[in-house]
């Protein structure tokens, strides 16, 4: 049927393909490679935020200029794939040398995937006191430091001055304003807006960011003694205050909120003012609106408090990295004042390094936003860690809180006290 020579070639080819595939399937590709010369290394660095890629790359360039023997390959993975990819690679003993971590870090520490940094910190003389303690401590697990804080987010309020001018508004949000001032201004804006698609303002109605911060402003908590306490009087009041904003037509009704984007609404002028997280401020500063169109102030105070939640990421090291010293050098540089300034010049995040020059760089990068420095400084005075409402175990059920509790609550189907109890049940179940 076939000439014997052909058969030999064919069978040889098939065996070769099979063996090659088998070997390829079993072999592991190291995430970093060495060229054999002293101190030289190729490192991999994995991040998720596309808005921060330019800033991180700038800092990486600065690092490579100072460490010519170390090459860094920066990989940006979309956020919803980041942990999936990380889990698979770290689980296989591979993964990037250096990567971002969030408050999900305890899971990775428990799994032995991350390198404790204490000895490197001691050897290099890095001072943890140079970083916002609220964020830095987030990465201290069982007494060991696993991450060096890279940024610190916060929430601010932004108003579109062109819209205020057009509507003939004289009262504008300030760094001294209160919740009542906000409601008064929003009502006045509403009375002057003419288009049916306009809304006076946007306030994050989500439980974790919006309601939880008002609970803290009222002196309450979300989780206490490992139990959900949203059904407390503060919780019920915060929920009621937020729903009142909707019922008075000051924020979009819940049915219209799914495809409502506060940043787009501010830029288009559909909304006169909006609560905006710091990681979205650069979207406003990079918009085509003339400089000074957007003014930033702190959140309105409730009972004299304007607490906002904060969180921040850190750079961590893979426990299986083949180049731990080089990886540490990279982490140290990226979080140093010099590296943080370069990163902040990208404009997308506020560094956790508390040196004045880092905030200066962030403010300069977003110089189109009026009042940014004062607003951030005021916000930094009063913050609580988001993980106090978003414990890692609660991260999973947060969508459930939104869809089964907050949605029906805003739609008027559940009372504030019942929704508080419902949220507590979900939190308690998650905290186990």
């Amino acid at each position: 049927m076939f000439p014997s020579r052909f058969k030999r070639i064919a069978s040889g080819t098939a065996v070769a393909i099979a063996v090659t595939l088998a070997i390829a399937g079993c072999s592991s590709t190291p995430s970093s490679t060495s060229n054999g010369s002293g101190g030289a290394a190729n490192l991999s660095l994995m991040i998720w935020d596309p808005a921060q890629t330019a800033g991180v790359q700038k800092a990486v360039d600065g690092f490579e200029a100072k460490n010519p023997k170390i090459k860094v390959s920066l990989q940006q993975v979309p956020q919803d794939q980041y942990y999936t990819k990380l889990d698979a690679s770290l689980g296989a003993g591979e993964g990037p040398d250096v990567m971002w971590q969030s408050s999900a870090i305890p899971v990775y520490v428990k799994g032995g995937a991350l390198e404790p940094l204490d000895s490197y910190i001691k050897k290099s003389g890095l001072k943890l006191s140079d970083y916002a303690p609220i964020i830095s401590n987030l990465y201290k697990i069982n007494g060991k430091q696993y991450g060096i804080a890279k940024d610190q987010d916060t929430w601010t309020f932004v108003y579109n001055s062109a819209v205020f001018k057009k509507l003939g508004m004289t009262d504008v949000p300030t760094n001294n304003w209160t919740w009542d001032d906000m409601v008064k201004i929003a009502k006045e804006v509403k009375s002057k807006q003419t288009s049916s698609t306009d809304v006076p303002m946007s306030y994050d109605r989500a439980f974790n960011n919006g309601v939880a911060s008002v609970i803290h402003q009222l002196g309450g908590k979300v989780v206490d003694n490992n139990k959900g306490v949203v059904s407390s009087p503060e919780g019920t009041k915060a929920l009621t205050m937020m729903k009142d904003l909707q019922d008075q037509g000051l924020i979009p009704v819940v049915a219209n909120s799914t495809d409502f984007n506060p940043v787009s609404a501010l830029i288009s002028g559909t909304a006169a003012m909006a609560e905006i997280p710091s990681w979205n401020l650069s979207l406003l500063s990079k918009s085509t609106a003339p400089a000074g169109t957007f003014h930033v102030v702190r959140l309105p105070s409730v009972n004299g408090k304007w607490l906002t939640d904060t969180n921040g990421l850190s750079y961590v090291m893979n426990a299986n990295s083949a180049h731990k010293d080089a990886s540490w050098k990279l982490i140290q540089y990226l979080t140093s004042t010099e590296g943080a300034v370069l990163h902040a010049e990208g404009g997308a995040s506020i560094p956790a390094n508390t040196a004045k020059s880092t905030l200066d760089a962030y403010v300069t990068a977003n110089s189109n936003l009026a009042g940014l420095r004062d607003a951030i400084s005021a916000a930094h005075q009063q913050m609580y860690l988001r993980t106090s409402s978003e414990y890692p175990p609660v991260r999973g059920p947060i969508p459930q809180i939104e869809s089964t509790q907050m949605g029906p609550f805003y739609a008027g189907k559940i009372s504030a006290s019942d929704v508080g109890k419902g949220i507590d049940q979900i939190i308690d179940k998650a905290l186990g």
């Binding site: 049927m1 069978s11 098939a14 899971v107 009704v253």
Partner: protein, 320 residues
């Protein structure tokens, strides 16, 4: 090929004296063939069978996003019965299947029927029918998302210009059902149309001619000739569309992203719920695996029922 022709050919292929040598050749040929199949089999073993078996194992464990799974026996399966979110997801999944599958079939049948006639613009019509099959689904979903956008969407702008109040398409269960139905039907009707059209080509024209001579009108011809003789293609299309809709994920996920939506439950499907459990937050992959097996069992059950029911309605012709 019938069994008698098979016998004949095997007899011809194995004459007495050379039989052993030929058989030896056949074995070696088969061996080479199998060696070439190894990459495919390896892929199947690794990505299908191993993946499925690992998923079954995971469903008996408490597995987070990272770290070794911990065996917990039937714990995850017990949890399934008290999970109200899963109930919402199952009800939604079947609701979408019950609404979407008939619409896809009716639209495909209509388009396939129209494609049979010659008319001006026939080629353009065929191209328009097949376009959704080659479009990027994500792009289509976003375009429809913008069309149905509450404040600025073209649909609401049109409704407003006609004097009615705008509809919160993504803010109510009915609205979400309508939007998802429209998008899924648009994305799904092309291939069934082609299959049904091909099935219609197989129907002998003599049947229609005979029926016409007997006085059957077009509607009668459609229901008495086209539909029965098209039933094998129709069954295939119904089965594959049903399975596709039971696995619905991309449309609700892109329209109602989990992290910001209070309306996400209106579009929550079993696969979307699985995704939330497994990949959002810290992950509950053990329980998610149990949920995915629920979907597997549901699809299997629906498929078996459909195969059982089709015996009564599907005509495979005299040969079948």
């Amino acid at each position: 090929m019938t069994s008698s022709t098979l016998l004949r050919s095997s007899t011809v292929a194995t004459p007495g004296p050379r039989r052993n040598k030929r058989r030896g050749f056949g074995r070696r040929d088969a061996l080479i063939g199998f060696l070439f199949l190894i990459p495919l089999l390896a892929g199947l073993l690794l990505f299908r069978f191993y993946g499925f078996a690992y998923n079954v194992w995971l469903s008996f464990t408490k597995a987070g996003a990272f770290g070794p799974p911990q065996f917990i026996g039937w714990g995850n399966y017990q949890q399934l019965f008290s999970d109200s979110q899963l109930a919402v997801a199952v009800v939604n999944t079947f609701k979408f299947a019950i609404i979407i599958v008939p619409v896809v079939i009716v639209v495909s049948l209509l388009c396939a029927t129209v494609m049979q006639y010659k008319f001006r613009g026939q080629s353009a019509f065929r191209a328009i029918v097949f376009l959704p099959a080659v479009f990027l689904p994500t792009a289509i979903i976003f375009v429809f998302g913008w069309l149905f956008q509450t404040q600025y969407g073209l649909i609401n702008t049109t409704i407003s210009s006609l004097g009615s109040s705008p509809v919160s398409w993504l803010g109510s269960s009915t609205g979400v059902t309508v939007v998802i139905t429209v998008i899924v039907v648009y994305l799904s009707f092309s291939v069934p149309t082609i299959i049904l059209y091909a099935g219609m080509q197989e129907i002998p024209t003599e049947m229609y001619e005979a029926a016409t001579l007997d006085g059957a009108r077009p509607v009668r011809r459609f229901f008495s000739i086209t539909l029965p003789l098209l039933s094998p293609s129709l069954f295939f299309v119904i089965l594959t569309t049903t399975i596709g809709v039971l696995k619905l994920f991309d449309v609700p996920y892109l329209l109602l992203p989990p992290e910001q939506s209070t309306s996400v439950n209106y579009g929550m499907t079993v696969l979307y719920y699985y995704y939330q459990l497994a990949f959002v937050g810290i992950g509950q992959r053990g329980y998610a695996a149990a949920v995915s097996l629920v979907l597997f069992v549901l699809i299997l059950a629906v498929s078996l029922i459909m195969f059982r029911v089709q015996r009564r309605f599907v005509h495979y012709g005299e040969d079948g």
